[in-house]
Amino acid sequence: MSSEELITQDDVTIRFAGDSGDGMQLTGTQFTATTAKVGNDLATFPDFPAEIRAPAGTRAGVSGFQIHFSSHDIYTPGDDPNVLVAMNPAALITNYKDLRPGGIILVNTGAFTEADLKKAELDSNPLTDGTLSGFRVVEEDINQRTMEALADTELSKKDKLRCKNFYTLGMIYWLYSRPLEPTLEWLQEKFKNKPELAEANAKVLKAGYNHGELLRLFQGHYEVPKVHDAPAGTYRNIMGNQGLAIGLVAGARLAGLKPFLGSYPITPATDILQHMSLLKNYDVITCQMEDEIAGICTAIGASFAGRLGMTTTSGPGLALKTEAAGLAVITELPLVIVDVQRGGPSTGLPTKVEQSDLLQAMFGRNGDAAVPIVACASPSDAFDCAVEACRIATQYMTPVILLSDNYIANGAEPWKLPDMDALKPFPVEFVTDPEGFTPYRRDEKLARNWAKPGTPGLEHRIGGLEKDAVTGNVSYDPENHQKMTEIRRAKVLGVRESIPTPEVHGAESGDLLVVAWGSTMGATRAAVERLQKDGVAAGHLHLRHIWPLPKGLPEIFARFKKIVVPEMNTGQLALLLQSEYPEFRFLKFDKVMGKPFRARELKAHFEEILEEKS
């Protein structure tokens, strides 16, 4: 095979793995940005180490970034990579098992000294002891090549070595025939004020690319043509947290309001606060408060004052916000509470994914305090779900919990931007007329009217004590409390009238219905499509609205012989569905390993279910 040979593939998964200090996240995001521009569909999965400063070279310090890209539509970051880039022994040993047989492993031999092996707790060198038999191992001293490329540069040795991830990136760009321009432009912009670094990284990137060709390391290279049937439109590469941030700002605008975000940093939700803090010229106010309670309480205060209050957090923070969320329920103020879920309980697995806050979102408040719950499925779905949460909050005067997770938060994919005309406003109307005003006067949706401070003649008091349904004064009357409890419940259930019945993807009826929510959407859809290819009558139902559940579900459930609910928790949605629709049987399938489902494992499990006699 000559080195020029160009092989066409239509679906590739690459995993970049190295020490936390090796810049693998940056390498991955650059490869992603370029691949998006090339016109492939893609999905990514960054896997950060839990420790910020795990000792260099250790297994605990390994940071990974996986990208799946393709000439057709894809839903997941890929099951098993075709290519593994391993920048040190720890990265190699913790990742090579996931590679598909015959896959390519690019190893940086510059980091394979005795000491490096020891740090990775290896007694022998996996490059020579047969560990990697069955894979195509490409060895390259990337450290050395980087130093050579920068031989006549002024930088310190340390700074030079830091460029090595761009050598790696260059090699992989060559291997998959990607253009260098997007990254070269990015370097220019990024190091505007440090041109010497821009130049050094560019040099190393080009060296990696050229050596990929010259050194004939790979026995040919590949192209992955762009998606041909991609729907026409404007696209942008989006990460989940970014999608939420701009969706929240857009949602407030569509409500005719200015957003106020009160928040407290917590992984993996912090990016939303960071991103929104940049958007000050969109009338955004952000306050980093002293804790999660203050975060939600400032948001409640801001909503009382006539902004759209929002607060962003992860599971432990949602727990702290519990009491205040109840205050927003009883005062019937609009509020969006974002929970980017991570592994629990307690601090749990802060950098890993789980969907285990669903029941906390559902029931985690004292008293009968139902709130609508919306869950996003992917980075590109985050925007729409954030807008939807703002719509429900303002139209129904209620706090809404918007669930995302770590996998969505840090994953990226191309997002087909909405047509501006398709973004339908849902403007809020504040009351200004004192005639007949009481704080709990309601519209036909049972939403109470909203009067903001500063409006003459509408002075009123709201608060945590139960209020009289008519006058809005404090009331301990038993009948009134019964009535107000029922009104609050009916109002939330009434949201159902404004949401569509979700469509079943795949078979409309048949042997198996897979009901999924949140980020299990992608892997579920892929698995169900594969089952269908095998001739199984399987359907996939994705639930964006967790509470209230949309109308029309029993009719769908009745069309399938079996129903299974895969979740990254021990069966929380299944429990909810089972109690709401006791006439059906919902099989659970759980995974709580801090990792997303793979389409392959889902398919295998579904096949087992199909074989079981019920």
């Binding site: 696209y235 857009a250 010229n281 408060m289 205060g301 004064n473």
Partner: protein
């Protein structure tokens, strides 16, 4: 331009029956706040009163203003949201010694350091009133309460010291039984631009009656307290013949002529802090009045200035700008 009507205290009375125990010190604070608000020349609809939970925190329901009765300890945080969202509002926080210093202690110090422009009135009755008589973070050591039947072991906070330590720009103290003094202090607080912290000694007739008696009773008040008036000599005593003088390290009693001038506007919080030491000395008068009053930019103002500055620089963002960023690409 709309002419602001001269409001009266009664304009601030809501139609709700006030339900504190007869004789509770809260009544006089309610009337003091109503009088102060009426005199500020601020339209009634621009007042927002936010409270936490406690006897004292029922306050907003009795005020004909916008109001929120929040949750225990969180009034400062809720009020911060109100004020930052709309700096045109005059925002008042009503809290208790338990509400504001125990469960809400964290929000208290942070709202003070941020200098959010709001008036924080802390009703200090040295007891948990609403829950019927447990010791609070200001209850003196040794006090017998329902949860300290053999005497409280906790060392208390001095609220003034806490506020000073948190970087408050305005700190003052008054008492429920001296309405005239209270009005002066509340007015000074209302006129302060920034977080104004006012501790009000408040008698709980039911669970901690007479806690401040030895300082506040008419017969002893002039001897046992001293009213600190900015720019005036520190004079006290029934016959106003005694003064306090300080060498910067110590405070001593002297004649009225020799008394030092009180200045709460100095950069250092040191002198105010020194004054609070008098609280621990049985033979000295306790300081009342304005202990600190300095200027520092408020958070709410700065937040809006920053939004304005960034918008000025980047231009007002449209919904389209937000979504269609320069890094997008088109598929035909």
């Amino acid at each position: 331009m709309s002419v602001v009507q001269q409001l009266k205290a009664k304009d601030f009375k809501s139609d709700q029956e006030v339900r504190w125990c007869p004789g509770c010190g809260d009544y006089s604070i309610l009337s003091g706040v109503q009088k102060t608000m009426a005199d500020m020349g601020i339209p009634r609809e621009n007042y927002v009163v936010v409270s936490g939970i406690g006897c004292s925190s029922r306050f907003p329901y009795y005020m004909e203003t916008y109001g929120m009765h929040g949750i225990h300890g969180r009034a400062n945080a809720i009020a911060t949201g109100v004020k930052v969202a709309n700096p045109d509002l005059s925002v008042w926080v009503i809290t208790g010694d338990g509400d504001g210093l125990s469960i809400g202690g964290n929000h208290m110090i942070h709202s003070l350091r941020r200098n959010v422009d709001m008036k924080i009135i802390l009703f200090n009755n040295e007891i948990y009133g609403l829950t019927k008589g447990q010791y609070s973070p200001t209850t003196p050591e040794g006090t017998k309460t329902k949860t300290s039947p053999y005497g409280s072991l906790d060392h208390p906070f001095n609220p003034i010291q806490l506020a000073l330590g948190a970087g408050a720009t305005f700190v003052a103290r008054t008492m429920d039984v001296n309405p005239k003094h209270m009005k002066q202090v509340l007015q000074a607080a209302a006129e302060h631009k920034g977080a104004a912290f006012v501790e009000v000694w408040q008698n709980c007739v039911i669970f901690n009656d007479g806690a401040y008696k030895s300082w506040t009773e008419k017969a002893v008040r002039d001897e046992k307290t001293i009213n600190l008036v900015p720019g005036e000599k520190m004079i006290f005593g029934k016959d106003r013949d005694k003064g306090l003088s300080t060498d910067g390290c110590r405070i001593t009693v002297c004649s009225a002529e020799e008394a030092s001038v009180w200045d709460p506007t100095v950069d250092s919080a040191g002198p105010a802090f020194m004054m609070t030491q008098l609280d621990n000395e049985p033979d000295m008068p306790r300081p009342m009045g304005v202990l600190r009053s300095v200027d520092r930019p408020t958070l709410d103002q700065q937040v809006w200035d920053q939004v304005g500055a960034v918008t000025g620089k980047k231009g007002e963002g449209t919904l389209k700008d937000l979504i269609y960023t320069p890094d997008c690409w088109v598929v035909e």
